[in-house]
Symmetry: C2
Subunit: 291 residues, 2 copies
């Protein structure tokens, strides 16, 4: 029998992920801080709960995907330690968090889960809203291999690949490293375009040469047109990329590792976010050079 699924967080990623679970025949109970975002999921057969705690109390498999560590902590532990989802989870349940948070927070959640015999996976995703809609996300997972095996029927509906990377915290560590690389690749492209433009040449030419060379990349394929056209419609918002870069830098500090270029990107993304009036994609880092 299929496990009953609880799903908390119906944002750009969570909504299509939960819709794919419904489409695959899972019974899904959902909750979102902004209730209106649940309408489409309810129309597709989802059950709307009145609180995160209610979702957790009534499922075999809980998934959360929220925007940042404070949002996740509020979902799990509630306000002032009251009404959080975590203590409502049933013994024997599996809880998988697909938010991007610090490895430390992932381990703290894992420890709290262990006390109530809940198995925890930190399983942040990559692949963007497009990957979420297509059911083609990648999951970077920290936790126990047996638990991942049990989660596979759900992982296969939401994603095309999943990687067991180590114990709890490993999924978040690899995710932070990945996003630091993506942030830097976009930063590199933006800096090079700024240089070429200042020299009076067309940055389109740079992109054309790169496509045929070793400088080709997924970032070039997906983001170069945004950078060239100044179209920063959010696919992955800059504020969330900056949050991830900040988390990577905090982790580096904890571990005593120097990351000079990531630090430079942190400053650039930070400056753009500070001046931004609207929400924008992280390719909007180009605004550092071109208003």
């Amino acid at each position: 029998m299929k496990p009953s699924v609880g799903f908390i967080g119906l944002g750009l990623m969570g909504k299509p992920m939960s819709l794919n679970l419904l489409k695959a025949g899972f019974a899904v109970t959902v909750w979102n801080r902004t209730a209106s975002r649940a309408e489409e999921v309810v129309a597709a057969g989802g059950t709307l709960a009145t609180s995160a705690r209610e979702v957790a109390a009534n499922c075999d498999f809980l998934i959360t995907i929220v925007s940042d560590p404070p949002a996740l902590e509020e979902v799990l532990w509630g306000t002032n330690g009251q009404g959080g989802a975590l203590s409502a989870l049933k013994s024997g349940a599996i809880y998988m968090d697909s938010s991007t948070v610090s490895p430390d927070l992932a381990r703290k959640i894992a420890a709290a889960c262990a006390k109530q015999k809940v198995r925890f996976l930190d399983a942040p995703v990559t692949g963007g809203d497009w990957g979420a809609r297509k059911g083609e996300l990648l999951f970077m997972i920290g936790g126990d291999g047996e638990t991942i095996k049990e989660a596979e029927p759900l992982l296969g509906v939401m994603g095309k690949k999943w990687f067991h990377l180590g114990p709890n915290g490993a999924g978040q560590t690899i995710k932070l490293a990945m996003n630091a690389i993506l942030a830097l690749q976009v930063e590199a492209l933006a800096e090079a375009m700024a240089l070429v433009s200042a020299a009076g040449l067309q940055p389109e030419k740079l992109v054309e040469v790169m496509q045929s060379s070793m400088a080709r990349s997924g970032v070039l394929d997906v983001k170069s047109q945004n950078l060239l056209k100044g179209d920063y419609t959010p696919s992955f918002p800059l504020r969330l990329m900056l949050k991830d870069v900040n988390l990577a830098m905090e982790l580096a500090k904890e571990l005593g590792v120097t990351l000079p270029a990531v630090a430079a990107a942190q400053a650039t993304y930070g400056a753009v976010k500070r001046d931004a009036k609207e929400d924008m994609d992280y390719s909007g880092v180009m605004r550092f050079w071109k208003k």
Copy 2:
């Protein structure tokens, strides 16, 4: 009739490029600062000249590819303005420089050439020694379109693609932007691997996830194994990458453009070069974290 070719600079790139011209039936006269490097080219049918000036005086089409701006200036203007190749070039000749130097130097050479009715192309290459051997280089060209048309029979022997990017200097500008991106992509990968390793995880896992994601890149394909294994056998030497990054930063300064992440990479590559006892590939920037 095929133009007679002069070729100056028989390094990691120049040697296979000149061998491909010989194989295609061009008459090639060569010169190299270290004469022993010419042996293979002479054995393949090349004519060894006794000076750079002699090469220039006897060709319709001159190609130079040397390691840095001072080396190129010495070839072209000689020591104390005596014995350089440039003033020996015949009126009507074409001169193509495939070294990586500053756009300013390219424009200075173009101006000197124009005075003696020589047509100049700045045409730095990318594709590495492997691309040079296979005749699959990319040429980034600044100069006149008609001159490039005339150069095509030679370009097609040494390369698979060439891009007309603008007037003289444009080839060098795009090349510096390209190499700044490559330097930063390797830097990003090295920083992320350092973070993951410090967290006690295997950087191999990071590479595996990246291969399936938007973080995939030519750099990941070509350099990740070097970084993982600590094998820094020079393919493109770190000292030359640092030279190119330095040139990009000088250009940025001239143009009043801030490049925070390129500046960070400049410091990291610089620190590794300072401590390096042997020549190494630019993937050796990993030494900043892992001795």
